[in-house]
Protein backbone atom coordinates (compact mmCIF):
# COMPACT_ATOMS: atom_id res chain seq x y z
CA UNK A 1 0.00 0.00 0.00
CA UNK A 2 1.35 3.36 -0.90
CA UNK A 3 1.80 6.18 1.51
CA UNK A 4 -1.26 7.79 2.88
CA UNK A 5 -1.48 11.53 2.48
CA UNK A 6 -3.94 12.74 5.09
CA UNK A 7 -2.84 16.29 4.48
CA UNK A 8 -3.99 15.92 0.91
CA UNK A 9 -7.40 14.59 1.75
CA UNK A 10 -9.30 17.79 1.41
CA UNK A 11 -12.52 16.51 -0.03
CA UNK A 12 -14.41 18.62 2.40
CA UNK A 13 -11.89 21.40 2.54
CA UNK A 14 -13.42 24.78 2.69
CA UNK A 15 -12.40 27.18 0.00
CA UNK A 16 -12.35 30.90 0.18
CA UNK A 17 -11.54 32.81 -2.96
CA UNK A 18 -9.82 36.08 -2.38
CA UNK A 19 -9.01 38.65 -4.98
CA UNK A 20 -5.41 39.76 -4.71
CA UNK A 21 -5.50 43.46 -4.17
CA UNK A 22 -2.83 46.08 -3.92
CA UNK A 23 -1.60 46.60 -0.41
CA UNK A 24 -3.02 49.60 1.37
CA UNK A 25 -0.68 51.76 3.37
CA UNK A 26 -1.05 50.79 7.01
CA UNK A 27 -1.56 53.78 9.29
CA UNK A 28 -1.13 52.03 12.64
CA UNK A 29 -2.18 55.12 14.54
CA UNK A 30 -5.75 54.64 13.35
CA UNK A 31 -6.09 51.19 14.87
CA UNK A 32 -6.41 50.07 18.47
CA UNK A 33 -3.56 48.28 20.22
CA UNK A 34 -4.75 44.71 20.48
CA UNK A 35 -1.24 43.26 20.51
CA UNK A 36 -0.08 40.60 22.90
CA UNK A 37 -1.79 37.42 23.96
CA UNK A 38 -5.46 37.22 24.94
CA UNK A 39 -6.74 34.61 27.34
CA UNK A 40 -10.13 33.70 28.73
CA UNK A 41 -10.53 34.75 32.35
CA UNK A 42 -9.57 32.29 35.05
CA UNK A 43 -12.45 30.04 36.07
CA UNK A 44 -14.18 30.13 32.69
CA UNK A 45 -14.29 26.69 31.11
CA UNK A 46 -15.34 25.57 27.67
CA UNK A 47 -18.80 27.08 28.00
CA UNK A 48 -20.50 29.38 25.54
CA UNK A 49 -22.07 31.80 28.01
CA UNK A 50 -19.35 32.63 30.54
CA UNK A 51 -21.90 34.10 32.95
CA UNK A 52 -23.70 30.79 33.45
CA UNK A 53 -22.67 27.33 34.60
CA UNK A 54 -21.58 24.72 32.08
CA UNK A 55 -24.56 22.80 30.73
CA UNK A 56 -27.05 25.25 32.22
CA UNK A 57 -26.64 28.13 29.84
CA UNK A 58 -30.26 28.50 28.88
CA UNK A 59 -29.63 28.30 25.15
CA UNK A 60 -32.82 29.47 23.34
CA UNK A 61 -33.14 26.22 21.41
CA UNK A 62 -36.25 25.23 19.49
CA UNK A 63 -37.89 22.11 20.98
CA UNK A 64 -36.36 19.75 18.43
CA UNK A 65 -32.84 20.95 19.22
CA UNK A 66 -33.52 21.16 22.94
CA UNK A 67 -34.34 17.44 22.78
CA UNK A 68 -31.11 16.82 20.87
CA UNK A 69 -29.21 18.76 23.51
CA UNK A 70 -30.81 16.85 26.37
CA UNK A 71 -30.00 13.52 24.72
CA UNK A 72 -26.44 14.74 24.26
CA UNK A 73 -26.08 15.59 27.95
CA UNK A 74 -27.35 12.14 28.85
CA UNK A 75 -24.89 10.51 26.44
CA UNK A 76 -22.03 12.52 27.92
CA UNK A 77 -23.03 11.39 31.40
CA UNK A 78 -22.76 7.80 30.18
CA UNK A 79 -19.27 8.35 28.82
CA UNK A 80 -20.18 9.31 25.25
CA UNK A 81 -19.35 12.50 23.41
CA UNK A 82 -22.91 13.57 22.67
CA UNK A 83 -23.09 16.34 20.08
CA UNK A 84 -19.62 17.72 20.83
CA UNK A 85 -17.83 16.80 17.63
CA UNK A 86 -14.35 18.00 18.53
CA UNK A 87 -13.18 14.86 20.30
CA UNK A 88 -11.90 13.64 16.93
CA UNK A 89 -9.72 16.76 16.78
CA UNK A 90 -11.70 18.60 14.15
CA UNK A 91 -11.55 22.36 14.75
CA UNK A 92 -14.04 24.10 17.01
CA UNK A 93 -15.18 26.35 14.19
CA UNK A 94 -17.28 29.45 14.71
CA UNK A 95 -18.62 30.68 16.99
CA UNK A 96 -17.06 28.22 19.46
CA UNK A 97 -13.52 29.22 18.49
CA UNK A 98 -14.10 32.47 20.37
CA UNK A 99 -14.34 30.52 23.62
CA UNK A 100 -10.55 30.90 23.34
CA UNK A 101 -9.81 27.83 25.37
CA UNK A 102 -6.14 28.39 24.58
CA UNK A 103 -4.61 31.79 23.92
CA UNK A 104 -5.37 34.07 21.00
CA UNK A 105 -3.36 36.64 19.09
CA UNK A 106 -4.88 39.41 16.99
CA UNK A 107 -2.86 40.97 14.19
CA UNK A 108 -4.37 44.00 12.50
CA UNK A 109 -3.47 44.89 8.95
CA UNK A 110 -5.48 47.32 6.80
CA UNK A 111 -7.09 44.69 4.59
CA UNK A 112 -7.28 41.80 7.02
CA UNK A 113 -7.43 41.25 10.74
CA UNK A 114 -5.95 37.89 11.66
CA UNK A 115 -7.13 36.02 14.74
CA UNK A 116 -4.88 33.12 15.62
CA UNK A 117 -5.94 30.70 18.32
CA UNK A 118 -3.46 28.19 19.71
CA UNK A 119 -5.97 25.35 19.75
CA UNK A 120 -6.18 23.40 16.47
CA UNK A 121 -4.11 26.20 14.87
CA UNK A 122 -7.38 27.95 14.16
CA UNK A 123 -6.85 30.99 11.98
CA UNK A 124 -9.54 33.54 11.23
CA UNK A 125 -9.01 35.97 8.38
CA UNK A 126 -11.43 38.86 8.82
CA UNK A 127 -11.44 40.82 5.61
CA UNK A 128 -11.72 44.56 6.18
CA UNK A 129 -11.03 45.66 2.62
CA UNK A 130 -14.63 46.48 1.81
CA UNK A 131 -15.42 43.32 -0.08
CA UNK A 132 -18.84 41.70 -0.05
CA UNK A 133 -19.53 38.05 0.70
CA UNK A 134 -18.72 35.91 -2.32
CA UNK A 135 -21.40 33.81 -3.94
CA UNK A 136 -21.14 30.33 -2.48
CA UNK A 137 -20.45 27.87 -5.25
CA UNK A 138 -20.63 25.02 -2.77
CA UNK A 139 -16.95 25.14 -1.87
CA UNK A 140 -16.93 28.05 0.56
CA UNK A 141 -17.89 26.30 3.77
CA UNK A 142 -15.30 25.92 6.50
CA UNK A 143 -15.49 25.35 10.23
CA UNK A 144 -14.12 28.82 10.85
CA UNK A 145 -16.38 30.43 8.22
CA UNK A 146 -15.85 33.43 5.96
CA UNK A 147 -15.60 36.69 7.89
CA UNK A 148 -16.02 40.25 6.75
CA UNK A 149 -15.26 43.07 9.15
CA UNK A 150 -15.62 46.78 9.41
CA UNK A 151 -13.65 49.09 11.67
CA UNK A 152 -15.70 51.72 13.47
CA UNK A 153 -14.64 54.91 15.25
CA UNK A 154 -17.49 55.06 17.76
CA UNK A 155 -16.31 58.11 19.67
CA UNK A 156 -15.14 60.14 16.70
CA UNK A 157 -11.59 60.60 17.98
CA UNK A 158 -10.08 59.63 14.66
CA UNK A 159 -9.10 56.19 15.84
CA UNK A 160 -10.99 52.96 15.31
CA UNK A 161 -12.17 51.33 18.50
CA UNK A 162 -14.54 48.57 17.41
CA UNK A 163 -14.36 45.80 14.89
CA UNK A 164 -17.74 44.65 13.60
CA UNK A 165 -17.58 41.19 12.07
CA UNK A 166 -20.08 39.04 10.24
CA UNK A 167 -19.28 35.40 9.59
CA UNK A 168 -21.08 33.07 7.21
CA UNK A 169 -20.44 29.82 5.38
CA UNK A 170 -19.65 27.68 8.41
CA UNK A 171 -19.79 23.96 8.00
CA UNK A 172 -20.89 21.21 10.35
CA UNK A 173 -20.50 19.43 12.64
CA UNK A 174 -20.17 22.23 15.23
CA UNK A 175 -21.45 22.91 18.70
CA UNK A 176 -21.34 26.08 20.80
CA UNK A 177 -19.27 24.46 23.48
CA UNK A 178 -18.14 21.24 25.11
CA UNK A 179 -21.57 20.67 26.65
CA UNK A 180 -22.74 20.06 23.08
CA UNK A 181 -25.22 22.93 22.55
CA UNK A 182 -26.06 22.16 18.92
CA UNK A 183 -26.26 24.34 15.84
CA UNK A 184 -28.77 23.52 13.13
CA UNK A 185 -27.81 20.84 10.66
CA UNK A 186 -28.62 23.18 7.77
CA UNK A 187 -25.37 25.08 8.56
CA UNK A 188 -26.96 28.43 7.79
CA UNK A 189 -25.52 30.02 10.90
CA UNK A 190 -24.66 33.69 10.82
CA UNK A 191 -22.42 35.07 13.56
CA UNK A 192 -22.17 38.80 14.23
CA UNK A 193 -19.50 40.15 16.54
CA UNK A 194 -18.59 43.45 18.08
CA UNK A 195 -15.02 43.37 19.37
CA UNK A 196 -13.82 46.24 21.53
CA UNK A 197 -11.59 47.08 24.47
CA UNK A 198 -12.61 48.12 27.91
CA UNK A 199 -12.17 51.91 27.81
CA UNK A 200 -10.71 52.01 31.31
CA UNK A 201 -8.82 48.75 31.22
CA UNK A 202 -7.07 48.32 27.88
CA UNK A 203 -5.95 44.85 28.89
CA UNK A 204 -9.54 43.64 28.75
CA UNK A 205 -11.14 42.86 25.40
CA UNK A 206 -14.79 42.05 24.78
CA UNK A 207 -16.44 40.12 22.01
CA UNK A 208 -20.20 40.55 21.90
CA UNK A 209 -21.26 37.58 19.81
CA UNK A 210 -24.75 37.25 18.35
CA UNK A 211 -25.57 33.93 16.75
CA UNK A 212 -28.46 33.53 14.34
CA UNK A 213 -29.23 29.90 13.64
CA UNK A 214 -32.30 27.83 12.84
CA UNK A 215 -31.75 25.74 15.97
CA UNK A 216 -32.47 28.88 18.00
CA UNK A 217 -35.79 30.55 18.70
CA UNK A 218 -34.13 33.98 18.53
CA UNK A 219 -30.69 35.50 18.01
CA UNK A 220 -28.55 34.54 20.98
CA UNK A 221 -26.15 37.19 22.26
CA UNK A 222 -23.32 36.38 24.60
CA UNK A 223 -20.41 38.61 25.58
CA UNK A 224 -17.02 36.99 25.96
CA UNK A 225 -14.13 38.74 27.63
CA UNK A 226 -10.43 38.17 27.40
CA UNK A 227 -7.46 39.34 29.44
CA UNK A 228 -4.22 40.47 27.89
CA UNK A 229 -0.84 38.96 28.67
CA UNK A 230 1.67 41.53 27.48
CA UNK A 231 4.71 39.26 27.69
CA UNK A 232 3.32 36.13 26.17
CA UNK A 233 4.81 32.73 25.92
CA UNK A 234 3.36 30.79 23.02
CA UNK A 235 3.03 27.05 23.00
CA UNK A 236 1.60 24.45 20.68
CA UNK A 237 -1.55 22.66 21.65
CA UNK A 238 -1.70 19.66 19.34
CA UNK A 239 -5.01 17.90 19.77
CA UNK A 240 -3.95 14.78 17.89
CA UNK A 241 -0.83 14.31 19.97
CA UNK A 242 -2.53 12.87 23.02
CA UNK A 243 -6.06 12.27 21.82
CA UNK A 244 -7.45 9.23 23.61
CA UNK A 245 -10.51 8.94 21.39
CA UNK A 246 -10.76 6.90 18.22
CA UNK A 247 -13.75 6.93 15.91
CA UNK A 248 -14.24 3.72 13.95
CA UNK A 249 -17.31 3.81 11.76
CA UNK A 250 -20.05 5.33 13.88
CA UNK A 251 -18.56 4.17 17.18
CA UNK A 252 -16.18 6.02 19.44
CA UNK A 253 -13.59 4.03 21.35
CA UNK A 254 -10.68 4.98 23.54
CA UNK A 255 -6.99 4.26 23.69
CA UNK A 256 -5.89 2.77 26.99
CA UNK A 257 -2.67 4.01 28.59
CA UNK A 258 -1.03 0.73 27.57
CA UNK A 259 -1.85 1.32 23.93
CA UNK A 260 -4.85 -0.96 23.53
CA UNK A 261 -8.33 -0.26 22.32
CA UNK A 262 -10.95 0.00 25.02
CA UNK A 263 -14.65 0.80 25.15
CA UNK A 264 -15.79 4.34 25.85
CA UNK A 265 -19.05 3.16 27.36
CA UNK A 266 -20.07 0.27 29.55
CA UNK A 267 -21.08 -2.74 27.49
CA UNK A 268 -19.83 -1.30 24.19
CA UNK A 269 -19.17 -3.90 21.53
CA UNK A 270 -15.69 -4.09 20.01
CA UNK A 271 -15.13 -3.03 16.39
CA UNK A 272 -15.78 -5.46 13.58
CA UNK A 273 -12.45 -7.03 12.63
CA UNK A 274 -13.73 -9.03 9.68
CA UNK A 275 -11.27 -7.36 7.32
CA UNK A 276 -8.37 -8.95 9.19
CA UNK A 277 -7.18 -12.39 8.36
CA UNK A 278 -7.25 -13.83 11.87
CA UNK A 279 -6.21 -17.31 10.75
CA UNK A 280 -2.55 -16.35 11.17
CA UNK A 281 -3.19 -15.20 14.71
CA UNK A 282 -4.94 -18.44 15.57
CA UNK A 283 -2.00 -20.36 14.14
CA UNK A 284 0.44 -18.27 16.20
CA UNK A 285 -1.45 -19.08 19.36
Amino acid sequence: MLLKFPIVLTASAAVAVVALTCAQAHDESKYPDWGGQWRRPAGINNQWDPTKPWGQEGAPLIPEYQAIYEANLKDQLEGGQGTDPTYTCIPDGMPRAMNVIFPMEIVILPETTYIMIEYFSMLRRIYTDGRDFPVDDGTLASFIGYSIGKWVDTDGDGRYDELLVETRFMKNPRSFDASGIPLHEDAETIVKERIYQNKDKPDVLYDEVTTIDHALTRPWTVTKNYNRERNPRWFELVCAENNEYIKIGEETYMRSPDGRLKPSKKGQKPPDLSLFDTRNDAAKK
Binding site: V8, V15, A19, A23, H26, V107, L261, L273, L275, D281
Partner: protein, 283 residues
Protein backbone atom coordinates in the same frame (compact mmCIF):
# COMPACT_ATOMS: atom_id res chain seq x y z
CA UNK B 1 22.99 28.16 -4.70
CA UNK B 2 21.48 31.49 -5.56
CA UNK B 3 23.20 34.74 -4.80
CA UNK B 4 26.32 33.05 -3.52
CA UNK B 5 29.65 34.28 -4.79
CA UNK B 6 32.88 32.36 -4.69
CA UNK B 7 34.87 35.54 -4.75
CA UNK B 8 36.20 36.48 -1.36
CA UNK B 9 36.41 40.11 -2.40
CA UNK B 10 32.79 40.20 -3.43
CA UNK B 11 31.81 38.31 -0.30
CA UNK B 12 33.54 40.89 1.85
CA UNK B 13 31.94 43.73 -0.05
CA UNK B 14 28.57 42.10 0.30
CA UNK B 15 29.17 41.52 4.00
CA UNK B 16 29.55 45.24 4.44
CA UNK B 17 26.11 45.68 2.95
CA UNK B 18 24.54 42.99 5.12
CA UNK B 19 23.88 45.49 7.85
CA UNK B 20 20.55 45.51 9.53
CA UNK B 21 18.67 48.75 9.24
CA UNK B 22 18.17 50.53 12.52
CA UNK B 23 15.31 48.80 14.27
CA UNK B 24 12.13 50.75 14.74
CA UNK B 25 9.12 49.50 16.61
CA UNK B 26 6.62 51.32 14.43
CA UNK B 27 6.02 49.31 11.31
CA UNK B 28 7.24 51.26 8.29
CA UNK B 29 5.84 49.24 5.40
CA UNK B 30 7.92 51.07 2.83
CA UNK B 31 11.06 49.40 4.19
CA UNK B 32 9.78 45.89 3.66
CA UNK B 33 9.54 43.81 0.50
CA UNK B 34 6.17 42.85 -0.93
CA UNK B 35 5.68 39.23 0.03
CA UNK B 36 1.92 39.57 0.20
CA UNK B 37 -0.49 37.01 -1.17
CA UNK B 38 -0.27 33.27 -1.18
CA UNK B 39 2.81 31.17 -1.91
CA UNK B 40 3.06 27.59 -3.09
CA UNK B 41 5.97 25.39 -4.06
CA UNK B 42 7.21 25.89 -7.61
CA UNK B 43 8.29 22.33 -8.22
CA UNK B 44 5.75 19.54 -8.53
CA UNK B 45 6.07 15.81 -8.03
CA UNK B 46 6.21 13.69 -4.93
CA UNK B 47 6.62 15.72 -1.75
CA UNK B 48 10.33 15.61 -1.02
CA UNK B 49 12.69 17.83 0.89
CA UNK B 50 15.19 18.59 -1.87
CA UNK B 51 13.14 19.16 -5.01
CA UNK B 52 16.27 18.93 -7.16
CA UNK B 53 16.70 15.26 -6.32
CA UNK B 54 14.47 12.19 -6.50
CA UNK B 55 12.26 11.06 -3.63
CA UNK B 56 13.56 8.71 -0.93
CA UNK B 57 17.16 7.50 -1.13
CA UNK B 58 17.62 9.79 -4.09
CA UNK B 59 17.54 12.74 -1.71
CA UNK B 60 21.02 11.65 -0.58
CA UNK B 61 20.69 13.25 2.83
CA UNK B 62 24.09 13.42 4.54
CA UNK B 63 22.96 11.20 7.38
CA UNK B 64 25.23 9.51 9.86
CA UNK B 65 25.37 5.75 9.48
CA UNK B 66 23.00 5.24 12.41
CA UNK B 67 20.38 7.59 10.99
CA UNK B 68 20.80 6.30 7.44
CA UNK B 69 19.79 2.90 8.77
CA UNK B 70 16.77 4.47 10.46
CA UNK B 71 15.80 6.10 7.16
CA UNK B 72 16.28 2.81 5.34
CA UNK B 73 14.00 1.09 7.83
CA UNK B 74 11.38 3.78 7.24
CA UNK B 75 11.59 3.26 3.49
CA UNK B 76 11.38 -0.51 3.91
CA UNK B 77 8.29 -0.20 6.09
CA UNK B 78 6.67 2.09 3.54
CA UNK B 79 7.47 -0.38 0.79
CA UNK B 80 5.66 -2.95 2.92
CA UNK B 81 2.56 -0.79 3.17
CA UNK B 82 3.38 0.88 6.48
CA UNK B 83 3.93 4.52 7.20
CA UNK B 84 7.55 4.30 8.31
CA UNK B 85 8.57 7.46 10.12
CA UNK B 86 5.78 9.31 8.34
CA UNK B 87 3.44 7.76 10.89
CA UNK B 88 3.51 10.91 13.03
CA UNK B 89 2.10 12.97 10.16
CA UNK B 90 -0.37 10.22 9.36
CA UNK B 91 -1.60 10.78 12.91
CA UNK B 92 -1.95 14.51 12.23
CA UNK B 93 0.99 15.48 14.41
CA UNK B 94 2.45 18.75 13.12
CA UNK B 95 5.09 18.54 10.42
CA UNK B 96 7.20 21.12 12.17
CA UNK B 97 10.32 22.75 10.82
CA UNK B 98 11.70 22.58 8.19
CA UNK B 99 9.03 20.48 6.55
CA UNK B 100 6.27 23.02 7.17
CA UNK B 101 8.09 25.38 4.82
CA UNK B 102 7.65 22.86 2.06
CA UNK B 103 4.83 24.76 0.36
CA UNK B 104 2.74 21.80 -0.77
CA UNK B 105 -0.11 23.72 0.78
CA UNK B 106 -0.05 27.50 0.61
CA UNK B 107 1.68 29.77 3.05
CA UNK B 108 1.27 33.46 3.80
CA UNK B 109 3.75 35.95 5.22
CA UNK B 110 2.48 38.67 7.53
CA UNK B 111 4.84 41.42 8.66
CA UNK B 112 4.40 43.31 11.88
CA UNK B 113 6.79 45.67 13.60
CA UNK B 114 8.29 42.97 15.81
CA UNK B 115 7.40 39.70 14.19
CA UNK B 116 7.12 38.08 10.81
CA UNK B 117 4.40 35.47 10.80
CA UNK B 118 4.33 32.50 8.47
CA UNK B 119 0.79 31.17 8.31
CA UNK B 120 0.09 27.80 6.77
CA UNK B 121 -3.13 26.60 5.30
CA UNK B 122 -2.57 23.09 6.57
CA UNK B 123 -3.72 23.27 10.16
CA UNK B 124 -1.15 20.76 11.36
CA UNK B 125 1.43 23.46 10.71
CA UNK B 126 1.33 25.86 13.58
CA UNK B 127 1.90 29.53 12.83
CA UNK B 128 5.57 30.46 12.81
CA UNK B 129 6.42 33.56 14.81
CA UNK B 130 9.75 34.87 13.63
CA UNK B 131 10.82 37.51 16.12
CA UNK B 132 12.61 40.41 14.46
CA UNK B 133 12.71 42.67 17.50
CA UNK B 134 16.31 41.96 18.38
CA UNK B 135 15.58 39.59 21.25
CA UNK B 136 17.91 36.81 22.35
CA UNK B 137 17.06 33.14 22.77
CA UNK B 138 14.81 32.40 25.72
CA UNK B 139 16.14 30.01 28.31
CA UNK B 140 12.96 28.32 29.38
CA UNK B 141 10.90 27.91 26.22
CA UNK B 142 9.50 24.43 25.84
CA UNK B 143 10.31 22.74 22.50
CA UNK B 144 7.86 23.41 19.69
CA UNK B 145 7.37 21.64 16.38
CA UNK B 146 7.81 25.05 14.74
CA UNK B 147 10.78 25.76 16.96
CA UNK B 148 11.67 29.20 18.23
CA UNK B 149 12.70 31.55 15.43
CA UNK B 150 14.67 34.76 15.56
CA UNK B 151 14.96 36.75 12.36
CA UNK B 152 16.83 39.73 11.04
CA UNK B 153 15.86 41.84 8.07
CA UNK B 154 18.75 42.72 5.80
CA UNK B 155 19.10 45.49 3.25
CA UNK B 156 21.44 43.58 1.02
CA UNK B 157 21.80 46.08 -1.79
CA UNK B 158 21.82 49.19 0.34
CA UNK B 159 18.77 50.78 -1.29
CA UNK B 160 17.10 51.51 2.04
CA UNK B 161 14.66 48.64 1.71
CA UNK B 162 14.98 45.22 3.25
CA UNK B 163 15.26 42.37 0.80
CA UNK B 164 16.42 39.33 2.77
CA UNK B 165 15.02 37.81 5.92
CA UNK B 166 17.60 35.73 7.77
CA UNK B 167 16.18 33.34 10.32
CA UNK B 168 17.62 30.96 12.85
CA UNK B 169 15.34 28.37 14.38
CA UNK B 170 16.16 26.31 17.44
CA UNK B 171 14.43 24.29 20.12
CA UNK B 172 12.38 22.11 17.80
CA UNK B 173 10.41 19.24 19.22
CA UNK B 174 11.12 15.68 18.13
CA UNK B 175 10.32 13.30 16.54
CA UNK B 176 10.45 15.21 13.26
CA UNK B 177 11.26 14.27 9.72
CA UNK B 178 12.22 16.25 6.64
CA UNK B 179 9.73 14.74 4.26
CA UNK B 180 7.32 11.97 3.51
CA UNK B 181 10.03 9.37 3.04
CA UNK B 182 10.95 9.82 6.69
CA UNK B 183 14.42 11.39 6.58
CA UNK B 184 14.94 11.69 10.33
CA UNK B 185 16.21 14.37 12.66
CA UNK B 186 18.35 13.34 15.58
CA UNK B 187 16.34 12.37 18.61
CA UNK B 188 18.31 14.81 20.78
CA UNK B 189 16.28 17.74 19.39
CA UNK B 190 19.44 19.84 19.00
CA UNK B 191 18.87 20.66 15.32
CA UNK B 192 19.34 24.25 14.13
CA UNK B 193 17.88 25.60 10.91
CA UNK B 194 19.11 28.76 9.23
CA UNK B 195 17.07 30.32 6.45
CA UNK B 196 17.58 33.13 3.99
CA UNK B 197 14.31 34.15 2.35
CA UNK B 198 14.33 36.60 -0.54
CA UNK B 199 12.47 37.45 -3.70
CA UNK B 200 13.90 36.46 -7.04
CA UNK B 201 15.47 39.56 -8.55
CA UNK B 202 14.10 38.85 -11.99
CA UNK B 203 10.66 37.59 -10.99
CA UNK B 204 9.00 39.18 -7.93
CA UNK B 205 6.44 36.39 -7.92
CA UNK B 206 9.10 33.84 -7.02
CA UNK B 207 10.42 33.59 -3.48
CA UNK B 208 13.49 31.58 -2.50
CA UNK B 209 14.20 30.00 0.86
CA UNK B 210 17.75 28.80 1.31
CA UNK B 211 17.60 26.43 4.29
CA UNK B 212 20.64 25.04 6.03
CA UNK B 213 20.10 22.42 8.69
CA UNK B 214 22.68 21.49 11.27
CA UNK B 215 21.74 18.36 13.19
CA UNK B 216 23.53 15.54 14.94
CA UNK B 217 21.92 13.04 12.57
CA UNK B 218 23.87 14.72 9.72
CA UNK B 219 27.54 14.40 8.86
CA UNK B 220 27.58 18.05 7.71
CA UNK B 221 25.18 20.99 7.39
CA UNK B 222 22.60 20.24 4.71
CA UNK B 223 21.54 23.12 2.49
CA UNK B 224 18.46 22.97 0.29
CA UNK B 225 16.78 25.84 -1.53
CA UNK B 226 13.01 25.85 -1.66
CA UNK B 227 11.18 27.99 -4.19
CA UNK B 228 7.66 29.36 -3.92
CA UNK B 229 5.44 30.96 -6.52
CA UNK B 230 2.94 33.70 -5.71
CA UNK B 231 -0.55 32.66 -6.67
CA UNK B 232 -2.44 35.04 -8.92
CA UNK B 233 -5.80 33.93 -7.62
CA UNK B 234 -5.71 33.45 -3.87
CA UNK B 235 -7.78 30.54 -2.59
CA UNK B 236 -7.54 29.76 1.11
CA UNK B 237 -8.77 26.38 2.22
CA UNK B 238 -9.17 24.95 5.69
CA UNK B 239 -7.16 21.77 5.65
CA UNK B 240 -7.44 20.19 9.05
CA UNK B 241 -5.82 16.77 8.40
CA UNK B 242 -8.23 14.93 10.71
CA UNK B 243 -11.24 15.19 8.44
CA UNK B 244 -11.08 12.40 5.92
CA UNK B 245 -7.96 10.88 7.48
CA UNK B 246 -8.37 7.12 7.19
CA UNK B 247 -5.27 6.32 9.25
CA UNK B 248 -6.02 4.81 12.65
CA UNK B 249 -3.25 4.49 15.21
CA UNK B 250 -3.69 2.12 18.13
CA UNK B 251 -0.64 1.75 20.33
CA UNK B 252 2.36 1.32 18.07
CA UNK B 253 0.33 -0.11 15.22
CA UNK B 254 -1.18 1.72 12.28
CA UNK B 255 -4.41 0.59 10.69
CA UNK B 256 -6.74 1.97 8.08
CA UNK B 257 -10.40 2.73 8.04
CA UNK B 258 -12.19 1.16 5.10
CA UNK B 259 -14.58 3.37 3.09
CA UNK B 260 -17.48 1.63 4.81
CA UNK B 261 -16.09 2.32 8.28
CA UNK B 262 -14.36 -0.96 9.16
CA UNK B 263 -10.94 -1.26 10.70
CA UNK B 264 -8.52 -2.88 8.25
CA UNK B 265 -4.83 -3.80 8.14
CA UNK B 266 -2.23 -1.69 6.37
CA UNK B 267 0.04 -4.65 5.77
CA UNK B 268 -0.48 -8.19 4.66
CA UNK B 269 -0.76 -10.50 7.64
CA UNK B 270 -1.06 -7.65 10.16
CA UNK B 271 -2.65 -8.74 13.42
CA UNK B 272 -5.84 -7.01 14.54
CA UNK B 273 -5.78 -4.87 17.67
CA UNK B 274 -5.87 -6.51 21.06
CA UNK B 275 -9.46 -6.41 22.33
CA UNK B 276 -8.87 -7.74 25.83
CA UNK B 277 -10.59 -4.79 27.45
CA UNK B 278 -13.78 -5.59 25.58
CA UNK B 279 -13.59 -9.20 26.66
CA UNK B 280 -13.41 -8.07 30.27
CA UNK B 281 -16.51 -5.94 29.77
CA UNK B 282 -18.41 -8.78 28.23
CA UNK B 283 -17.67 -11.20 31.08
Amino acid sequence: MLYRSSSVAIALAMALLLTPLPGAQAHDESKFPDWSGQWRRVEGGAPRYDHSKPYGRGQEPPLTREYRLIHEASLADQADGGQGLYRTSARCIPMGMPWQMYGLFPIEFVFTANTTLVLSEIMTSQPRRIYTDGRDWPEDQEPLFTGYSIGKWIDQDGDGKYDVLEIETRNMKVPRIYDQSGIPFHEDGQGIIKERIYLDKADPNILHNEMTTTDNALTRPWTVTRNYRREKKVIWTENNCVEGNDNIAIGKEDYLLSPDGYLMPVKKGQSPPDLRYFNQVQK
